[in-house]
């Protein structure tokens, strides 16, 4: 097993890919019986310190429907200078540049260690990155001030040649012209009126390129998008201007009467932002960064009326079909997201408010375009400030950890077809022979657009084995998948990253143990969770849970070892042992449970779940709990109520929150001030240890988790209590009074009960 674990880890590190199954069942029928679909988590831009990009064009298969990239799996005839595509078996001539090729003189792409390779290609003009700030001015003075400062700070983080633009909105929407001296100038739009892209461009005076075109100089226009210069300017040129402009930004001046929400035209503002970029920089990497401090209250995309007495929709309202603006608003934002995605622009949403801000309706903007979604209580919190700062963080090589306009093309060998993808992407509707009719996630295509991605952006890609049972694959045959990602690097280079992987086929009937052993339960849990969350977006919560349960039971039935109708005999192999626990926590997670979460929170959680890599996703599913005590070094402990002991400090990382919980005794000590006494310096160290660890997590996590420092009996302890497995509750009285942990006041089932049921059902001959 260790070998498989290593293999998996190695694969992940090299290729950024984790398959649910690392040995593939060779027939369609068998594959479906595996319950967990053949799928992978792909991190297209996984950071590779050891991967120097090559400076030439990839060699493509000449078959028009294939166009696979030359890779180490291809058979090469060095003498004839031919290579055979390992996907379509087309024999291809090497291009002239490869004339000197030989077995000892191989191009990088043929070396096995370059199963992932990155090409830098020269295509089209290089356009600088574009950052368009869309700023809500209906904020409290403090919030606005903080936001302004953050924005001003961000200017120094941008690449100097990046273009920046500013749109502010409140009751009106203002597009600021940045090139002017003296008077600051802005174009103002009514916040209640939806405008077509054409109208917006006309009103912004962007429709002028027609003139040069007529003058017979069409070639210059794409290279010199002069038109846009008024609204999008290189940072280094207008740094001061923009800083002043931001400094002078006023709160929305329109009076808000008692009992009303400010009129906020988020919908129109976004529409204008999208229209502006659409007209000026189509197919160029651009970020629209929306900063909003409340729900859209007017115009297209309004989420709630301006009467404070009508609260914003809750899950309850949605279930009762009582959210009157939701559908329309969602449609508005979807349209925008699609337009924006089509042009390769991404939309970030930074929403900071105590109440909901309409993320539910706006989520698609971030989801479809690969934009960030950040939710906080206020712009004046470090959560927002640091998260925002981290958007512009740089990687190990000093490059921004962001890429734009990616186009992911997946190629499979004939035995496989592509069922779909789940992640921050949009279908490009590329039909082909390797596209399955059965869709999982966003399907029906072999190509997806990812407008923005960072090194951790991870897509789940689902496959279908289509090899028929009666057409066995020759021994040692391998299935192959190639991922080709075209993207615009943060340095504005165009790059192509190609990852080609292969896995062995195995006959499930005869070699089930191989397949079983090659099961990646972590990947499987995340892949199933993504499917579940994807379904939850469109289906009722209970249905999804039932589906998940059924899948789990079927999996246990398939791979468990048991005697029929004897739950006690049930055993799972090591490669499956954690899976039920993941599912147990997934069922309790906010991704599938909406209870206690607002629609916005649900959308927020789901958004992040659908794009984080495996490790982070697992943390989201099953938070990590560390214990600090005088009894030993810090150790991970079970996410269980029994882990909550008075003499422990617990550190829980749920991805979204970092909770430091002081046990009862520890809290008392702290109150007594022992940490300040020299003789108890060790206690001080104990207190400090989790803080340091938390800090470490905080440093790297995007978005910044909510940092919670609490203690036994503290109100914030609920974050911990709601996550741990309620092994001790007020219902199982035997636990009362014991020193073994803290009871949780809940009716939720504990893992123990869950497992008992699972066993019972799995072994039941009735099912």
């Amino acid at each position: 097993m260790a070998t498989y674990l290593e293999f998996i880890q190695q694969n992940e590190e090299r290729d950024g890919v984790r398959f649910s199954w690392n040995v593939w069942p060779s027939s369609r029928l068998e594959a479906t019986r595996m319950v967990v679909p053949l799928a992978c988590l792909l991190t297209p831009l996984k950071e590779r310190l050891d991967l120097p990009p090559v400076q030439y064009e990839p060699v493509l298969c000449s078959r028009p429907t294939c166009k696979a990239v030359l890779n180490p799996l291809c058979q090469v005839d060095y003498r004839a200078k031919l290579w055979a595509c390992n996907f379509c078996f087309q024999r291809n001539q090497f291009p002239p540049a490869y004339a000197g090729i030989s077995e000892v003189n191989q191009p990088a792409e043929l070396m096995p260690q370059f199963s992932t390779i990155e090409y830098i290609v020269q295509r089209g003009p290089q356009t600088p990155l574009i950052f368009l700030y869309v700023v809500d001015t209906c904020l409290e003075e403090e919030d606005l001030q903080a936001l302004k400062e953050s924005l001003q700070m961000s200017l120094s983080l941008l690449p100097p040649d990046a273009l920046v633009g500013l749109i502010t909105f409140g009751r009106m929407v203002q597009v600021h012209e940045l090139s002017c001296e003296g008077i600051s100038k802005s174009y103002v739009f009514r916040g209640t009126k939806d405008l077509t892209a054409k109208q917006i461009q006309d009103m912004l005076g962007l429709s002028r390129p027609a003139v040069p075109m007529q003058q017979g100089r069409p070639l210059q226009t794409p290279e010199q998008p002069v038109i846009s210069s008024r609204f999008l300017q290189p940072v280094h040129k207008i740094d001061m201007n923009l800083t002043d402009l931001l400094g002078e930004l006023q709160r929305d001046p329109w009076p808000v009467t008692q009992g009303k929400r400010p009129l906020r035209s988020t919908g129109v503002a976004l529409s204008i932002a999208v229209g502006l970029l659409e007209g000026t920089f189509p197919n160029t990497g651009a970020r629209i960064m929306l900063f909003t401090g409340g729900p859209p209250t007017q115009g297209p995309g309004m989420v709630v009326g301006d009467e404070l007495k009508t609260p914003i929709r809750s899950w309850h309202d949605i279930e009762k079909d009582n959210a009157r603006f939701m559908k329309k608003a969602t449609k508005h934002y979807e349209t925008l997201a699609n337009r924006s995605a089509a042009n390769g622009h991404c939309i970030d949403i930074y929403a900071c408010a105590l109440d909901q801000t309409g993320l539910l309706e706006m989520k698609c903007c971030a989801n479809l375009t690969g934009g960030h979604m950040v939710m906080g209580d206020s712009f004046n919190t470090s959560l927002f400030k640091q998260t925002f700062q981290r958007v512009f963080s740089k990687g190990y090589n000093g490059e921004f950890r962001m890429a734009f306009g990616a186009n992911l093309d997946v190629k499979t060998s004939r035995e496989l077809k592509i069922a779909g993808a789940i992640g921050p992407c949009m279908s490009l509707n590329a039909k082909g022979p390797c596209v399955s009719e059965n869709e999982l996630g966003i399907g029906g295509t072999s190509q997806w657009k990812i407008c923005s991605l960072d090194p951790s952006t991870t897509l789940a890609i689902y496959f279908e084995v289509v090899n028929q049972h009666n057409a066995p694959i020759p021994q040692g045959g391998r299935g192959a998948v190639q991922f080709v990602t075209h993207y615009q690097h943060s340095s504005t280079q165009k790059r192509i990253r190609v990852t080609t992987i292969a896995r062995n086929w195995a006959d499930a009937q005869t070699q089930l143990q191989h397949i079983e052993a090659a099961f990646d339960q972590e990947a499987a849990a995340v892949l199933m969770a993504r499917l579940g969350v994807y379904r939850a977006e469109s289906e009722e919560g209970p249905d999804v849970l039932r589906w998940l349960d059924r899948q789990l039971i079927r999996l246990c039935q398939k791979f468990g070892q048991y005697n029929k109708d004897d739950p006690n005999s049930f055993r799972l192999s090591e490669s499956f042992s954690l899976y039920p626990q993941f599912i147990f926590h997934l069922r309790r997670s906010p991704f599938l449970q909406v209870f206690n979460n607002s629609p916005d929170e649900s959308s927020y959680y789901r958004h992040h779940f659908a794009r984080q890599d495996l490790t982070q996703s697992l943390i989201m599913i099953q938070p990590i709990l560390y214990a600090y005590s005088f009894h030993g070094p810090p150790e991970p402990v079970l996410l269980d109520s029994s882990s909550i002991l008075p003499d422990r400090i617990l550190l829980m990382d749920t991805f979204f929150q970092i909770v430091i919980y002081l046990g009862e005794t520890i809290a008392q000590w702290q109150k007594a001030g022992y940490q300040d006494m020299p003789e108890y310096e060790n206690f001080k160290h104990l207190l400090q240890a989790p803080l340091d660890d938390a800090q470490e997590i905080l440093q790297t996590r995007f978005p910044m988790p909510r940092y919670i420092h609490t203690e036994h009996g503290g109100s914030q302890a609920r974050f911990l209590l709601s996550k741990v497995n309620p092994s001790q509750t007020h219902n199982n009285l035997y636990a009362w009074g014991q020193e073994s942990g803290a009871p949780i006041l809940t009716d939720d089932v504990s893992l123990q009960v869950f497992m008992d049921h699972l066993k019972k059902l799995a072994v039941s001959s009735a099912s």
Binding site: M172, I183, S184, M203
Partner: protein, 1149 residues
């Protein structure tokens, strides 16, 4: 006849003609009829041997007329007049008469005399002598005179038809003169007849009066004369005068004699017919018939006579008229009638004027009157200048005290002080008549429109006190319970002061306890003099919250400056100019009373195809510009920082105004929008919840895609078609709706236009018009020449007192009702005039109609209440009260009319009419109405007289000349160089003009600058608007409220040119000058001070145009010489007078 005419016109007039022809001919053509009347007189003379004396005068006239000018007749008439005058002024002796006339006139006078002599010989009477001597001479001459008239008539008739020809004109003139002469003659006749017609005595008086008036026209006495003299006489004099003046004429004079001969001949016919004709103008023909014989004797005319006869009938339009009447007239009764008529005229006037006019006494002697004329000034048709001068002299010195009901105020041209003793000052309200007919029948019969021209916020001279502000406390002003009239001096307190009876509706209302006051023994409240609302005609109430929109006291108003920054505006330097000016101008926003700073907030917008708003909040280091491109759905992008206090945001505003010209310096945008601009202002005011005013500076037709987009629909081919009215109508109803919204918000729009081509003023003006705003137009704006004018207008417009969100209501005594309103405003119902803004120059004309009877005892009361927001945001009510008399006698009505006001009303009425009817129809309706007014007078008030005589009520003797000016105005009769925009612009302007403005607008003031006394402050005496009064050696100034022309004759002394223009010769004078150079010499100083003085009197800065004689621009200048025939076909004064006369006769017959 033709021969006669030719002879007359040809030689003598030939020279004079140029001027005369143009002027007089047309008019006379029309008037030829009048001539007929004269002939009638002649006829009288003829018929009545005894009365021959009277005749003579006629003959006299005719003879004079002929001799004097091409329009010999007129001359004759003049002469006749002259004689009269002479008589009155000087000894009848012929010699005396001539000399008296001015140098210029003398010639004519002489001529006339000479003619007379001739005439005497020939006609006998001719009266010329006769006139002077009338009584005596008349008899002998009678016969002769008779014939002469005929000849004249005939000539007239013939001429009449071909109005175009100078001769004709002259003829007409002659005819007119004849008529007039007849009139004058009649008096004598009257005298002679006196016994016959009871009236005679009076007649004579009148006659004299009449004459005197004419003479008056020359001299002071005029007033009395004017009545009688009516048109006919005046024209003659006028003609004669000109002729006299013209050197050419002199020679002509010689010929005149022949003409005189003709004249006589014409008279003869008249004489024959005269009597009868006297009744109706037409009689002339008859006269002619009769005349023929006489004519023969007189002149060659004999042949013509017959022809003349025929000619008369057929020929001139007159003929038609004449035709019928003649027969009737012929009868002897006619004579009497004629006499009467003439007397009647005399009488008519006398009775009316009797009291007023001192002339009456003279009348007694009238026969002698011929003497009256001090000078033998040829001007014999009513002269506006004379009337103005007289009024100025008679009434300018004493303050006008308003305590008396139905008092006719001095003319608007007279400087006078007003003392408010219970009625509103005429500066606030002027009425067409101060004596209202008691019944609607009377009103209908007279056709005199009953209208009041109200200028509620008029500026008062510093010597007069502003209306006092009255605060009646929380319950608001005391009002009648039923009709809601406000407390005023006419309310009757009864029951010891516990109640008051409404003077309008008679309803009795309790006096509120806090307002109770005891009455004194006369029934007056004890606090009568302490309370302005009880003792004054005009005062203000402080309004309570009930009078405010939404029951909320208003916020101080705002001014929003909206500047076109399209290519044209930038290139012409306009944008820079405006911005520069605003910097200083903003310190002069209107302030309330003695407040330290203006409460008015300001905002700025620039625009081309899109709008740019500016945030000038004081806390900003730099202004911020906000562009709104969504012009289809206008909104205001900001609230806070758009409307600011000038002092607080001074630096930001200054910075903005500095930068605007720079920002758009390189603009290439040529298209503009317009409606969205107004919408933007409106929205801004709405958002700020205040009223205000938009100052829009606009340069072009708004063709950019936006609401209210316009297309160029200018089409000169439509002129004189039924579709012409569409040129005055807005292209789209969009602006009407917009205006409505603006009014609802109290958003007044002032529009400054700088067009280089058509920009559809008719449509663009809709909103300014309906919101009570002003339009200023500077065609082909050029910085160098027009900036001063524009800046002055702008300064004035920004600084002038203005009320916002105004509602005006006029309440009247039961019996009459305000039925129609003219002016710049919006009405959502039939009684309330709503104006988003009302400034001190805006006038509303209100027409009243009867809906019941009025009583002579109680008179008629008007109360005009204006609810408005002051410039500091105070809600107030301004009340003006005016009491009028009521009459059961038409004569009373005619005696208390105010022609200037009448013209103001008629012009506004006609200018509105062009929106719905073809211009021709409007013109005809105007002429018809005036004819009816005058005919009614003639029929009901004037004593019977010859129909050939044109008799005008004293108060309305200028009606024809003014009316003609209205008819000739650009709106009603456009010349080729008048653009559609000009017409629409003028139409808008006139609609808001007050009486003084319409007066000078329609009859411009023409001042001989070279006659100015450099040592005094006074203006030189104005002269009449006719080219023949211009001398080549002089410099004249003409102003009409919009333009000032300085006309320089070719022969002006070089030193004068040097002094005034600083150049050495006539040819070096640049007509591109827009101001007079500042030179240090008395003449230059004087002229400039005159110009400054005139500018100061007008609400708009007038454009100064230098016109050199015989230069291209002179065409433009001549357009304003309104007594002359205009190039666009407008009749000369004389022609029109004839025409009027004809119309009247038609009505009478």
């Amino acid at each position: 006849m033709s021969v006669n005419q030719q002879t007359h016109t040809g030689p003598p007039y030939g020279q004079p003609q140029p001027g005369y022809q143009g002027f007089q001919q047309p008019a006379y053509g029309g008037q030829s009829l009048p001539g007929a009347p004269q002939s009638q007189y002649g006829a009288y003379n003829g018929p009545v041997p005894g009365y021959q004396q009277p005749v003579p005068p006629q003959g006299y006239y005719p003879s004079l007329g002929f001799p004097s000018k091409g329009s010999p007749v007129s001359l004759n008439s003049d002469t006749s007049l002259a004689p009269n005058f002479i008589g009155s002024l000087r000894a009848p002796p012929t010699s005396g008469a001539p000399p008296p006339a001015s140098g210029a006139s003398h010639p004519s006078g002489h001529v006339a005399y000479s003619q007379f002599e001739h005439g005497d010989v020939q006609n006998g009477i001719p009266a010329s002598a006769a006139p002077v001597q009338r009584p005596p001479a008349s008899q002998p001459f009678l016969p002769g005179s008779a014939p002469t008239p005929v000849s004249q008539i005939s000539t007239f008739q013939q001429y009449g038809p071909p109005p175009g020809s100078v001769q004709q004109l002259r003829n007409h003139m002659a005819g007119m003169t004849i008529g007039s002469t007849a009139a004058s003659a009649p008096p004598p006749a009257g005298l002679g007849y006196a016994s016959v017609p009871p009236v005679s005595g009076s007649v004579s008086a009148t006659g004299s009066g009449l004459y005197t008036p004419y003479s008056a026209s020359q001299g002071p006495p005029l007033p009395s004369v004017s009545q009688a003299l009516p048109v006919a006489q005046p024209p003659f004099p006028g003609q004669t005068i000109p002729t006299q003046r013209l050197p050419a004429q002199v020679p002509g004079f010689t010929p005149p004699p022949p003409s005189t001969g003709v004249g006589p001949s014409s008279y003869p016919p008249t004489t024959g017919a005269p009597r009868p004709p006297a009744m109706p103008g037409p009689p002339l023909p008859g006269q002619t018939v009769a005349g023929p014989p006489s004519s023969q004797p007189n002149h060659v005319s004999s042949p013509p006579p017959p022809s003349a006869m025929a000619g008369l009938h057929p020929g001139p339009p007159m003929s038609g008229l004449h035709g019928p009447p003649p027969p009737t007239h012929p009868p002897q009764p006619g004579y009497q009638m004629q006499q009467n008529g003439s007397f009647g005229q005399m009488r008519g006037p006398q009775p009316n004027y009797g009291g007023a006019y001192p002339g009456a006494p003279n009348y007694g002697s009238p026969p002698g009157p011929p003497p009256p004329p001090k000078r033998l000034d040829p001007d014999s048709i009513p002269s506006p200048i004379q009337v103005i001068e007289d009024d100025r002299n008679n009434r300018g010195s004493e303050p006008f005290v308003t305590g008396v009901r139905g008092q006719v105020p001095p003319l608007v041209t007279t400087n006078f002080l007003v003392k408010d003793q219970g009625n509103a000052s005429p500066r606030y309200i002027r009425c067409t008549s101060y004596n209202i007919p008691c019944t609607s029948d009377m009103a209908k019969q007279s056709q005199v429109p009953l209208a009041a021209v109200i200028k509620p916020l008029a500026t008062l001279p510093p010597e007069e006190t502003l209306p006092y502000l009255v605060d009646h406390g929380e319950s608001g002003p005391v009002r009648c319970n039923r009709c809601k009239a406000y407390m005023c001096p006419f309310m009757q307190f009864i029951e010891g002061g516990r109640r008051f009876q409404c003077c309008f509706c008679s309803c009795v209302t309790e006096v509120p306890p806090h307002y109770f006051q005891h009455l004194d023994h006369t029934g007056k409240r004890v606090d009568f003099y302490d309370r302005p609302e009880l003792s004054l005609g005009s005062y203000e109430f402080l309004a309570t919250v009930d009078y405010c929109k939404n029951n909320k006291f208003p916020s101080p108003p705002a001014f929003i400056f909206m500047i076109d920054v399209s290519y044209n505006a930038v290139k012409s330097g306009l944008v820079r100019l405006i911005c520069e000016e605003l910097k200083s101008l903003l310190d002069y926003l209107p302030r309330e009373g003695n407040m330290e700073e203006s409460a008015i907030r300001v905002g700025f917008v620039t625009y081309n195809k899109v709008l740019h708003f500016y945030n000038v909040k004081s806390s900003l280091a730099q202004p911020q510009m906000m562009v709104v491109s969504d012009v289809a759905d206008m909104f205001v992008p900001l609230l806070d920082g758009f409307l600011v206090n000038v002092n607080e945001s001074r630096t930001v505003i200054a910075s903005l105004l500095d930068q605007i010209p720079e920002m758009f310096a390189d603009t290439r945008e040529t298209e503009t929008v317009f409606a969205p601009v107004i919408q933007a202002g409106l929205e801004a005011l709405k958002a700020a919840e205040c009223a205000g005013k938009l100052f829009i500076f606009h340069t072009s037709l708004p063709i950019a895609e936006a609401p209210g987009k316009l297309k160029n629909r200018d089409d000169r081919k439509l002129i004189n078609t039924d579709k012409e009215k569409t040129l005055f109508q807005p292209q789209t109803s969009f602006y009407n709706n917009l205006a409505k919204d603006c009014v609802a918000q109290g958003c007044c729009v002032d529009l400054f236009l700088f067009p280089n081509q058509y920009l559809d003023v008719a449509t663009l003006g809709v909103v300014p018009y309906q919101t009570g705003g002003s339009i200023y137009k500077y065609a082909y704006f050029q910085l160098e020449t027009d900036q001063y004018r524009f800046l002055n207008d702008l300064r004035r417009d920004v600084q002038k007192e203005v009320g916002f969100d105004a509602v005006m209501r006029v309440r009247t005594s039961t019996g009459i009702r305000a039925t129609d309103f003219f002016g710049a405003f919006y009405m959502s119902n039939t009684t309330d005039v709503e104006m988003a803004g009302l400034d001190c120059d805006k006038t509303i004309t209100v027409e009243f109609k009867h809906d019941d009877k009025l009583s002579e005892d109680s008179g008629a009361l008007l109360q005009c209440a204006l609810l408005y927001t002051s410039c500091a945001g105070q809600r107030r009510l301004r009340i003006h009260n005016l009491s009028l008399n009521c009459c059961t006698q038409l004569a009373d009505l005619y005696r208390n009319c105010e022609t200037d006001t009448l013209i103001n009303y008629l012009a506004k009425y006609a200018y509105r009419g062009v929106l719905s009817s073809p211009v021709k129809t409007v013109r005809d309706a105007l002429i018809n109405q005036c004819a009816q007014i005058l005919a009614c007078y003639r029929k009901n008030c004037a004593s019977p007289s010859s129909a050939g005589q044109l008799i005008l009520p004293e108060c309305m003797k200028l009606l024809p000349v003014y009316l003609n000016c209205v008819l000739k105005s650009d709106v009603l009769q456009p010349g080729p160089e008048v653009t559609t925009d000009d017409r629409a612009y003028i139409r808008h302007l006139v609609t808001s003009m007050d009486v003084a403005e319409t007066n000078v607008f329609f009859y411009p003031r023409l001042l001989p600058l070279t006659k100015a006394d450099v040592d005094s402050d006074s203006l030189p005496a104005a002269i009449r608007n006719s080219e023949e009064r211009l001398s080549k050696g002089d410099i004249y100034l003409l102003e009409n409220g919009l333009n000032i022309f300085v006309w320089v004759g070719v022969n002006v002394q070089q030193s004068l040119i040097q002094n005034l223009f600083g150049v050495s010769s006539f040819s070096q004078i640049s007509n591109a000058l827009s101001t007079l150079p500042v030179l240090e010499n008395p003449f230059s100083k004087k002229v400039r001070s005159i110009v400054d003085m005139l500018q100061g009197q007008r609400s708009r800065y007038m454009k100064l145009i230098i016109v050199k004689q015989e230069d291209k621009l002179e065409m433009l200048f001549k357009h304003f010489l309104v007594e002359d025939k205009s190039l666009s076909g407008g009749a000369s004064y004389v022609d029109f007078l004839c025409h009027m006369h004809k119309e009247i006769r038609q009505l009478l017959s």
